[in-house]
Amino acid sequence: MATAVTAPRVLENAWVRFAARRLGRLVVSVWVVITAAFLMIHLVPGDPVRAVLGPTATAEVVAAKRAALGLDDPMWSQYLHYLQGVLTGDFGTGLASSLPVSQVISQRLPTTAMLAVLAFLVAVAIAIPVGVFMGVLTRGGRARRAELSFTATSVVLAAVPEFLLAVGLVYVFGVSLGWLPVAGRSGASSYVLPVLALAIGPAAVLSRIVRVQLQSVLQADYVRTARAKRLRAVTVYLKHALPNTLTATLTLGGLLLSVLVAGTVLVENVFAWPGLGTTMISSILARDYPVVQAIVLVYGVGVLLVNLAVDIALALLDPRSTIRES
């Protein structure tokens, strides 16, 4: 029975190696993002302090502000200082307002995260049933008309960017019908339009992916094996085809998730949503670089974490992927 013990251990090791590799990649990527955010303030044209204080500010005021921000220190010491600050959650103070940036972030991040998570869930909840239904309906070249109209609809919906969708939704449900609030965050109903605007595009793309993947999985040998066992059609679809469809879908659709995170910036601005996106744009326009820097960092790390989550989900769904990777 000695061999019986080794199998789980091998698997465990594969998991450990997988986790180590992913963690290493995450650390490197996060470091790149932090460095990029740090460099941003030095790459902007002109003097950021002069820009925010305006041409009327006296030279002494500007110099004092520069000194306070540490902008006159040598580059490497600024970098170390910045790294240290980021790691302890200290992002400095804004130029325009004198609030600590970390406070702005902690106020705005939850509302943005809420929006993104809800939109993702809605997109998945739409895409999987629709994709599976269309996949089964159109398998092996059946129901060509249904396939054509599905493809056309989803192509158009996917091509319309979320902020234009948002404008359309505002017009229809806010202005014309007057059913839903079109700006700000006030109760559950105010979530409907922003979430929909964010979710519709990814849902269209995802459902197409699900359909195509399901069809290719239905061609797979193991589905034929499942059919050779004379299982009920529902069992074949749900037990054998769907899990493998999801693996493939997640691989291709994982990127959509991070696109959705970025999409919040535009959608928030359409709906005047009090989140990171609106703050980011107003800070860019006000040249409040410390705030912009911090928000860029948060978005960047957010995308990295989303990617990591997708990878982990993939590894859980497909027992081969942890080993195949190495």
């Binding site: 019986a4 941003m40 319309v160 960017p161 234009l164 014309s176 193991y222 995308v303």
Partner: protein, 615 residues
């Protein structure tokens, strides 16, 4: 070039092309024709809604928004194309760099691309827009550079695919410099996908630009593009919704034009042809002749392809209990389709029909006999590597049929799985049952597949090339296992193989198929010396000796089998047959049974006594 032009022949491609030409024409002409109307300030008509005079209303200076949207086409398209150009040039350079500068530096470039490509373009663009400063110039640079990593990744993949090819290797071996190889041999070969993707991403750039301008980071007043107009219009959406909707619609139409045209190009270049139309479902005939004691009775089985051609053309066969029948033929002879059709595993758009298709006395065409087939018909497929679901444990895959049809409890099914794995000689079945397919070797998977068939009480095992994908040594073991199971449980076997040796070693009787028909049906023992059909004899002759090298392909017979789409009126083998005459070419020989139970379809069969020496 004709492939590019074929885009216009599809309805989507033609529409997209038309739309695109329209957008481009507008971009050129609109500012020339309507600049004056677009800029005319009219303080008497501030912020008006839609009217006959102002189709899309007016803005807060009373300027006509319809004309402003039309005129904005040029700037919007121009900036998008400029950004795309930057993305393509920078991306192409980054992507080709690893192939140029050698592995060390190349690896850093690849790593850089890999990290940046993980971020959504919009986020990169926002970051870059901050660096390059607010305004149209900064936004062009930002969107262009943000699009570059995706292009670099694409280029890398494409270059890697081409650089391995023989002619590139030959050019490099001939001492041609890397840059020249890239320019002369690699780039032309990856141009198509690059152009297609550039078209699609021009649409993306257009939308992204609208986004940045809408946020106030792109085009600045007094200049205006669609995004700017949209941003200005949104504030007044309650009063003059058209001010926001008109530029929005323009962006969508133009974006779609680029996108759809790119997709249509991709289709035209990508050689994907649809499977063709589905055939109408044919009424099933039921046959009420008396049941026989045969395990399987098939009469006039046909499989029709979507094109209307028939890949299996009237196959009839019978299998007695415990009998082993082999089907041989080259690939394309329809032998595997015959097996799948018998097992009711052929799906639309292929159509199966038969005058009679009875399994254990049950008419398979009259109704679905799920339970009967699930317990009494076992299948073994060619490739054990792909025949198992990779995401589920072996035990659950073996057990589910028994649980569904036999109503076994979880424990009982599990015990049966372990018992059956042991029966197919898998060591340590308790542990193996818990594993995933990828932890099994090929031979072991094929054993497990046979074990899956033995979960019920099979009367017939259909094995479709069960050993083709396996090593020679493992082949023997699998065949041995099948023979033992057959002997022990009196199970009939239908063995499909292109390998004459395998079939004659295992089977009692052999059917030889050619171009979708059975051309000879003879005892396996007669195969080596007593075959009468010219094709059978050619097949046998193609195997050097009956014992050795069974890996040898059967292509030694000159000529090739006709496709189902162009079978002739006469004998399908005639073009390759040494004995063919005018009669053979004109009329198809029927499959005729002789008194000894053998069947043959040939106008000039060799006499039974004649040995192989003449062929």
């Amino acid at each position: 070039m004709s492939r590019w032009r074929s885009v216009l022949r599809t309805p989507v491609g033609a529409c997209a092309a038309l739309l695109l030409v329209g957008v481009l024409a507008l971009a050129v002409l609109a500012p020339i024709l309507w600049s004056a109307q677009a800029d005319r300030v009219d303080t008497d008509a501030i912020r008006q809604g839609m009217s006959a005079e102002h189709w899309a209303g007016t803005d807060d200076l009373g300027r006509d928004l319809f004309f402003r949207v039309l005129v904005a086409t040029r700037l919007s398209v121009e900036l998008a194309l400029l950004a795309t150009l930057i993305a393509v040039v920078v991306g192409l350079t980054l992507g080709a760099l690893p192939a140029l500068v050698g592995s060390r530096l190349g690896r850093y470039v690849v790593a850089f691309v890999n990290i940046t490509v993980a971020f959504p373009g919009l986020l990169l663009a926002l970051f870059l827009a901050v660096i390059f400063g607010v305004g149209a110039r900064g936004a062009v640079l930002a969107i262009g550079l943000a699009g570059a990593p995706a292009f670099a990744r694409l280029t890398q993949t494409l270059v890697a695919g081409v650089i391995e090819r023989d002619y590139v290797a030959a050019a490099r071996a001939a001492g041609i410099g890397r840059f020249r190889v890239l320019l002369r041999h690699v780039l032309p070969n990856i141009a198509e996908p690059l152009i297609v993707n550039a078209t699609i991403s021009a649409g993306g750039a257009l939308l992204a630009f609208a986004g940045l301008s809408f946020l106030g980071l792109g085009v600045q007043a007094p200049q205006y593009d669609w995004g700017r107009l949209l941003g200005d219009g949104l504030a007044g959406i309650y009063v003059t919704p058209a001010a926001a909707l008109a530029p929005g619609i323009a962006v969508v139409i133009a974006g779609l034009a680029f996108n759809l045209f790119g997709e249509a190009l991709a289709k035209a270049v990508g050689l994907t042809t649809p499977l063709g139309r589905a055939l109408p479902r044919l009424p099933r005939r039921t046959d009420s002749s008396a049941p026989s004691d045969a395990v399987l009775e098939v009469r006039e089985l046909t499989v029709t392809l979507p094109s209307g051609a028939r890949a299996v053309r009237g196959v009839s066969l019978q299998i007695a209990p415990g009998e082993a029948v082999g089907v041989v033929g080259e690939s394309g002879s329809g032998k595997s389709l015959t097996a799948l059709a018998i097992a009711q595993l052929v799906e639309e758009p292929l159509q199966v029909r038969a005058e009679r298709l009875h399994f254990q006395g049950a008419d398979l065409q009259a109704q679905a006999h799920r339970k009967l087939l699930g317990t009494s018909l076992a299948m073994v497929f060619q490739d054990p590597m792909t025949a198992f679901n990779p995401t589920q444990r072996i035990a659950s895959q073996l057990a589910e049929g028994a649980r569904e049809h036999g109503g076994l409890s979880r424990q009982a099914a599990r015990a049966r799985v372990i018992d059956r794995l042991r029966a197919v000689r898998i060591h340590d079945p308790e542990r193996r049952a818990r594993q995933y397919p990828h932890e099994f070797s090929g031979g072991m998977r094929q054993r497990a597949m046979i074990g899956m068939g033995l979960m019920g009480t099979p009367a017939l095992i259909i094995a479709d090339e069960p050993t083709t994908a396996l090593d020679v040594t493992v082949q023997q073991q699998i065949l041995q296992l099948l023979a033992e199971i057959r002997a022990a449980d009196h199970v009939a076997l239908l063995l499909i193989s292109h390998d004459v040796t395998v079939v004659s070693a295992v089977c009692d009787r052999v059917l030889v198929m050619y171009a979708g028909r059975v051309v000879e049906d003879l005892p396996a023992a007669e195969l080596a010396r007593g075959a009468r059909h010219p094709y059978t004899r050619a097949l046998v002759a193609a195997v050097p000796t009956m014992e050795s090298d069974r890996q040898l392909p059967l292509t030694v017979i000159p000529g090739r089998m006709p496709d189902p789409d162009d079978v002739s009126a006469g004998c399908s083998f005639a073009p390759r047959c040494a004995l063919a005459d005018a009669h053979c070419a004109a009329e198809q020989p029927e499959l005729i049974a002789s008194a000894d139970g053998r069947r043959i379809a040939c106008w000039h069969p060799a006499p039974a006594s004649l040995a192989l020496q003449e062929s």
